[in-house]
């Protein structure tokens, strides 16, 4: 019995962590190349889910095509935001872009509220992904397994992109060793816009994955972004691997915390963050000298 529960909680934690991992990955890449912490990342996650629901409602677009279409739309949205707004503040203190995206969050959330109401939007799940499969006598929800598997796949693809392509290597160099990248004369300039869009698209994928599983409301990103900040602080903002690992780690802490100490589940995430800040200010995977 105890083993069964352990397995179930683990899967639940990894599924919850998948949303954090995907979104944190986007956040980390954007930060690496632009030096911008995107406060609107939670709002973009929300947009991913809302757009998927609206497309399903108006055009009858199903879950599978949405997994492709919505990230593309959010990529374009990110490109527009970068060109129109973010661009003007790059090179200034990064606080300004943090503040800009905070203002953008207020705007986006209330626009969605105004347009689509406050009670939430319905979303129909694909039939294939409902129900459970039995693994050694334990019923594991198929959708959670799918979310975990799919996000791992996306993370793996991003990793391949980062290590096998020229663009990817530039982006990775900029993310993880920005000082060196600059010293070596690597020019990230023309990749700035697509990278911003790419990061937003990753949050969008997380949003689509959340649509069948969570309440789709304008506020769904508000709590999310705060946990996401804890994730990137734990993982280390300058680390791609750190973002993903910390994402899954926080998901597991959440699931096991909920199982064994429900009242303190959310506080535990912040305690973990406080400990990391105390012991390794740069985050678990960040480079130590980066923090000072």
């Amino acid at each position: 019995m105890a083993m069964n529960e352990l397995l179930q909680y683990t899967i639940q934690g990894l599924a919850a962590g998948s949303f954090y991992a995907l979104a944190a990955l986007g956040l980390a890449v954007i930060f690496g190349v632009l030096g911008v912490v995107n406060f609107a990342h939670g709002a973009c996650y929300m947009l991913g889910a809302v757009v998927a629901a609206v497309l399903q409602d108006t055009l009858g677009l199903g879950f599978w095509p949405a997994l492709l279409v919505v990230p593309v739309l959010l990529f374009l949205f990110g490109v527009v935001i970068e060109r129109l707004l973010v661009r003007w503040l790059v090179g200034l203190d990064p606080l300004y872009n943090f503040l800009l995206t905070f203002g953008l969050t207020l705007l986006l959330v209330d626009l969605v509220k105004r347009q689509y109401g406050v009670s939430g939007l319905p979303y129909e799940r694909p039939e294939v992904l409902t129900g459970q499969i039995e693994v050694g006598g334990v019923g594991l929800p198929i959708y959670q397994l799918f979310v975990f598997g799919f996000s791992l796949l996306i993370c793996a693809l991003v990793w391949l992109l980062m290590t096998r392509t020229r663009v990817g290597m530039i982006v990775r160099a900029a993310t993880e060793r920005s000082d060196l990248a600059r010293a070596l004369g690597i020019n990230v300039g023309r990749w700035v816009t697509p990278v911003f869009g790419f990061g937003i698209a990753l949050a969008g994928i997380a949003g689509v994955l959340a649509a069948p599983f969570r309440a789709i409301t304008a506020d769904m990103g508000s709590n999310f972004i705060i946990i996401l900040f804890a994730v990137v602080v734990i993982g280390g903002l300058g680390s791609i691997v750190g973002a993903v690992v910390a994402g899954f780690l926080v998901g597991l802490v959440e699931a096991f915390g909920q199982a064994y100490a429900p009242t303190y589940a959310q506080i535990m995430i912040f305690v973990l963050m406080a400990v990391v800040v105390l012991v390794r200010p740069a985050g678990l995977f960040g480079r130590e000298e980066a923090a000072r």
């Binding site: 503040l99 905070f102 203002g103 986006l108 209330d110 920005s178 804890a230 602080v233 912040f270 740069a282």
Partner: protein, 343 residues
Amino acid sequence: MSNDVTSGATAHLDLPTDDVHVSATTPRRSGLRWLLLAAGLVVALALPWFIYPPIAMDIACWALFAISLDILLGYCGLLSFGHAAFWGGSAYCTGLVAVHYGVPFPVAVLAGMLFAMLIAVPIGYLSVRATGIYFAMVTLAFAQMIYFIANQWRDVTGGENGLQAVPKSFFGIELVETESFYFYYAALPMILLGMWAAWRIVHSPFGRVLVAIRDNAPRARALGYDVETYKVVAFVLSAGLAGLAGGLFAISHGFVSLQEVNWTTSGKVVLMAVLGGIGTLWGGVVGAGFIVVLEDYMASSGFEGIGIVTGSVFVVVVLLFRRGIWGTLAHHLGRRRQAGTRD
């Protein structure tokens, strides 16, 4: 501080640094200062005659709160996105002291203020280890912890229902206790005292060291300043002023709700400080007045979605008027005067 990860390439906050560095004021400037000060006092005293007194009190509280944030943001370059912890923490402590001991409200507010400074010590100690954007995220997360505690500790805080029926005891003076118009004048001296303290802090030698740290931490360290300690002290002082404001807010409203410790409150005060102008101190007053009046107006206007307006205003200010309202005015005035003296 040499790396992107924590501080960005080089800090480029649009700050009116001359205001800070030039301490020896010319007679003309000092005359202008007195004029401004007098004008400010007149506005503060006249406010409840023109604005509904509880709203006037809200403006005063938020103004001090925004100023307390600006001490960190404008003079240390630290954006605290968790200041609601101190505003709200003090509000709860003030409310509890007032409810359980029935002391005159200034005493309760002082207790709240001390409590805010107390919790600021560990939070500040941990947070200043991070700089730049990291600092914002870490303070936000700590404030969330305070929020969870306030929500969970229902027997003390009232949880979701809030802490209700906080009295306005004031040495048995009935009018102050029942009429918000008179309460405003009873509370105003504490607000003004807080503002004066903020002004003293940033214009003291201590404040100048803060600015030096903000502009170049390694150099300040090389000169022998204990950078971290300076930051923690600034953090605690700022939290104290935020607590003073939050305590008065709790008394003024007669109750404390979870809203006071929520991150949206932290966001709102950042909005006010930036709108008024980072590093101008008094800009916070303008920002607070603008936002409080706007929100009050919108609540009765029938327009849904206040975030659309405040969000847009914020985006425009950050993009086009980074000096904020006060900062932009001061900048233009300063330039004209400079041009004038050159002639």
